[in-house]
């Protein structure tokens, strides 16, 4: 049998792990993490089997997708939605990436959550339980064969994201303006839900048009042709469907204007940030576009195009540059990475928007590895600094703790999770200004972080990030110069802030005592870092363009052949234009974008080194960029960048406040302000008064008229019943009692017979028989 039929097993293993932990093993921390790791491990093995099988599958008749139905699934009325697996190049590469990254992060989490130390997280098992559920959601989204299943798993991931961002839901900060994990979780959930609503509307429209959500039906050339030519609300159905589905992407992949949730999602534990908010879940939005790319191809791109740039590409490119600018001014080590994630997702979206399908998908995969690496590295740094702080803290409060303060302190630790709040003020272990000089203290973390950072910057030739980014830029150069320049500048800024981050964190002298005492993380954490670092470099070799000077062609451009096949064979009508154009450009080598991309990357890195590396920041000093901007009167701009261009405040003012105000108004309308009555409440109360009056009137009528009649009838009844009573007592009772007495007397008379002795009964029976015989003879005699 075809082994790909078993692809549905892949999400099953993490699902089983989730159930097992939730129901059985949650009491044991070690068992819980082993169940989670073995669940994802089995999924990884199964995914590898599927991956290698799919890669070696011969391309038959232009069809590069493998599909298999498992069972009829939703049966509503006459509609039947089957469920099955669908393995095509896009899902195959995801199956390579997702379980591997998940597994690394799960292993890392064991160390990050302080397993085996007294500081172990009190909700340790629950954490792994959620992680398993998340892995199930991501893998399920990849393997199944219709958009409804895609949507369901997508929502499961959304829920996990909410649960895990708010994992330390009881954590609070002394600064009331700083968002707490609980609020961040809610924010992420609600903001992505806005995108999901569009996604769902898109699905509904698609279903109404096609009558099916299975990829097989949707991507059939006839269906696409029909969608492209059906008029719908002033444009074609395909355009509307693509736009609505893209709404889902905007929410999930944090594209402008729904990007606001992702930076705050960093309130979750760092492995979660790495897994969900950098490597996998946020790329689900991009994957949605990859998955439904044929629909995007046939959509009428000129609708909503901004300045000749397709809408999708515009959003992507704008997000890419916009968020990379904000990343420059972030002091939170995870904040920088969060904005860089948004920016890189913007890259992918922009690539897909201009039709560079393969480049977008390639960047999706490479980005997952190096961004997971960077996040885990930053987690390791935070963990180290936190422990450094803890060491000093213990030292300084030694005597205090000895005098009964230990109990309070211990409880406090448990409640606050990883936040350290003490009498002197709050220490922020995420702040890069509190770090510095960590390269010597944490060598493994430093080297792996450096590799990840270079990959993110697109350091030429050496890193995976270079190859994927270069491919996007090369495509953009051909297809849309405006997008090319935007992305190119964004790449330069990316390199700059990455260098800033590396310098601030690892170079120079430690700026706080905590950084001075930070220990290297345990092997649970550093080994996944090393493995991810290997992939962050080597993965690029799968996608080196064949026409690249010198080294092109040594390794075949496997990625392009494998993934690109989907598009080249799926040409139809309108799609042929984009795909054909795309195919032409992919095979000729153009040198300008390469040179420019190298210039951007190296320029950004070099500038970063000049500003931050040459003369490291010392404690208490102002950020050089901030200082320079203040000197030329642009301090306000830096403030705006650091405050995320006030988008949170804007949404707060434009959407959240009015919503609350509206709700208050409705509340006032209903119930009124304190003391008074609102309109609705007043109306209800007036109605109540009228009702009360009416009931009083009818009460009077009741009392006087109705009651009188009833009383009369009652008296008559009493009289009559008195008569009957006499009859009852004399006649009927007499009869009844008589019967009773007779029975009683009879019983008394025959009672002596029943002695309870068997022999007496037998004697009686014998006499009875004798009497019968006697009677018989008497009758016989009389008759004769």
């Amino acid at each position: 049998m075809e082994i790909l039929n078993l692809a549905w097993l892949i999400p099953l293993f993490p699902a089983l792990a989730f159930v097992a932990i939730a129901l059985f093993t949650y009491r044991s921390r070690a068992l819980s993490h082993w169940v989670t790791i073995s669940g994802i491990g089995l999924a990884f093995l199964a995914a590898q089997v599927v991956f290698w099988r799919a890669v070696t599958l011969p391309v038959k008749g232009g069809e590069h997708a493998f599909e298999s139905a498992i069972a009829p699934w939703v049966i509503a009325g006459v509609e039947r939605l089957g469920i099955g697996v669908y393995v095509d190049p896009a899902s195959t590469i995801m199956l390579f990436m997702v379980p591997l990254v998940c597994m690394m992060i799960f292993i890392y989490s064991v160390g990050y959550m302080n397993f085996g130390t007294p500081e172990v997280d009190p909700r340790y098992s629950r954490f792994f339980c959620y992680l398993s559920l998340f892995a199930m959601g991501m893998l399920g989204m990849v393997v199944f064969n219709n958009l409804l299943a895609f949507f369901i798993f997508w929502e499961i991931m959304g829920t996990c994201s909410y649960l895990l961002i708010g994992f330390w839901y009881d954590k609070s900060y002394p600064d009331p303006d700083k968002i707490t994990p609980k609020e961040a979780g809610l924010k992420a959930f609600i903001v992505t839900k806005i995108g999901d609503l569009f996604f769902m509307l898109g699905l509904a429209l698609l279903y109404a048009q096609v009558g099916s959500l299975a990829y097989h039906d949707i991507f059939a050339p006839e269906t696409l042709d029909q969608l492209a030519h059906t008029q719908f609300l002033g444009s074609t159905a395909a355009t509307w469907i693509a736009l609505l589905l893209f709404g889902g992407t905007v929410g999930k992949s944090a594209q402008f204007p729904l990007h606001v949730w992702l930076p705050d999602a960093m309130e979750g534990p760092t492995p979660v940030s790495a897994l969900i908010h950098a490597a996998t879940m946020v790329s689900a939005g991009v994957f949605l576009v990859v998955r439904t790319f044929p629909i995007f191809q046939v959509a009428n791109a000129s609708v909503l195009a901004v300045g000749g740039i397709p809408f999708v590409a515009f959003i992507g490119a704008f997000t890419a540059i916009f968020s990379s600018i904000m990343a420059i001014a972030q002091d939170d080590i995870k904040g920088v990475l969060a904005f860089s994630t948004i920016s890189q997702l913007g890259y992918m979206v922009a690539a897909l928007g201009i039709g560079a399908y393969v480049a977008g998908a390639f960047h999706l995969i490479t980005h997952a590895f190096f961004k997971a690496l960077l996040f885990l590295g930053s987690g390791s740094v935070i963990h180290g600094v936190e422990h450094g702080h803890h060491i000093i803290h213990e030292h300084a409060h030694g005597e205090h703790a000895a005098h009964g303060g230990a109990d309070k302190h211990g409880r406090h630790e448990e409640q606050e999770g990883h936040s350290h709040e003490d009498v002197e003020g709050w220490f922020n272990p995420n702040d890069m200004k509190n770090m510095g000089g960590l390269a010597k203290r944490m060598p493994r973390t430093f080297w792996t972080f450096l590799i990840g950072g270079l990959a993110l910057s697109g350091f030429p030739l050496f890193t995976a990030g270079f190859w994927s980014k270069d491919e996007i830029l090369a495509q953009a150069f051909e297809l849309s110069p405006a997008v090319f320049w935007t992305l190119g500048i964004a790449a330069g800024i990316t390199a700059f802030y990455t260098m800033r981050q590396i310098c601030l964190t690892f170079l120079g002298k430690p700026r706080t005592e905590a950084a001075e005492h930070a220990p290297e993380s345990v092997s649970w954490m550093t080994v996944p870092l090393i493995i991810l670092a290997i992939f962050a470099v080597s993965l690029g070799w799968a996608g080196i363009p064949e026409h690249f000077p010198v080294i092109g062609g040594i390794v075949p451009n496997w990625f392009h052949h494998f993934v690109g096949a989907t598009i080249e064979t799926a040409e139809s009508g309108h799609a042929a234009r984009v795909a054909g154009h795309f195919a032409e450009t992919a095979h000729g080598f153009v040198w300008q974008p390469l040179v420019l991309s190298v210039v951007f990357a190296l320029g950004g890195l070099g500038l970063g080194w000049l500003v931050y590396g040459r003369r490291p920041l010392v404690a208490g000093e102002m950020d050089p960029v901030e200082g320079a901007m203040r000197n030329v009167g642009l301090g306000w701009l830096y403030e705006a960048m650091a405050n995320r261009f006030y988008f949170d405040e804007l949404y707060q003012a434009v959407i959240v406040r009015p919503s609350i105000w509206l709700a208050d108004m409705f509340d006032a309308f209903d119930y009124g302000k304190s003391g008074g009555h609102g309109v609705v409440d007043g109306a209800v109360m007036a109605l109540g008064s009228i009702g009360k009056l009416m009931s009083e009137v009818s009460g009077w009528v009741d009392d006087k008229v109705v009651d009188g009649l009833v009383d009369l009838a009652g008296s008559a009844g009493v009289l009559l019943s008195n008569g009957f009573n006499g009859f009852d007592i004399k006649v009927i009772d007499g009869a009844v009692n008589g019967v009773g007495k007779a029975v009683k007397g009879g019983g008394k008379a025959v009672r002596p017979i029943q002695t309870g002795k068997l022999q007496d009964y037998l004697l009686l029976a014998s006499f009875a028989v004798l009497a019968l015989i006697l009677t018989f003879f008497v009758i016989l005699y009389l008759q004769i």
């Binding site: 309870g756 002795k757 022999q759 037998l762 004697l763 014998s766």
Partner: protein, 102 residues
Amino acid sequence: MVPLEWYLVLAAALFCVGTYGVLARRNAIAVLMSVELMLNAVNINLVAFWRHLEPGGATGQAFALFVYVVAAAEAAVGLALVIAIWRSQRTVVLEDINLLKG
């Protein structure tokens, strides 16, 4: 040949003795023995009628044999009950065995 009436009178007498025993004796074993007497009275009747009225067939003898078998089984069960009662109640006097009486 002894006339049929003599057998019948003997059987009736035996039956009456047995009945008297069942009705009057207080010892449970004696009651069981009396039951055997009654069964044997019936057997005498069966064999006598067979001999005088149907000497060709074997019905009467066969019935008599059935009665023996049933009597043996009944004696076995009855004695077992008597032993069980003796063990628990230490008596075989019928008047004293009144556990079911309210």
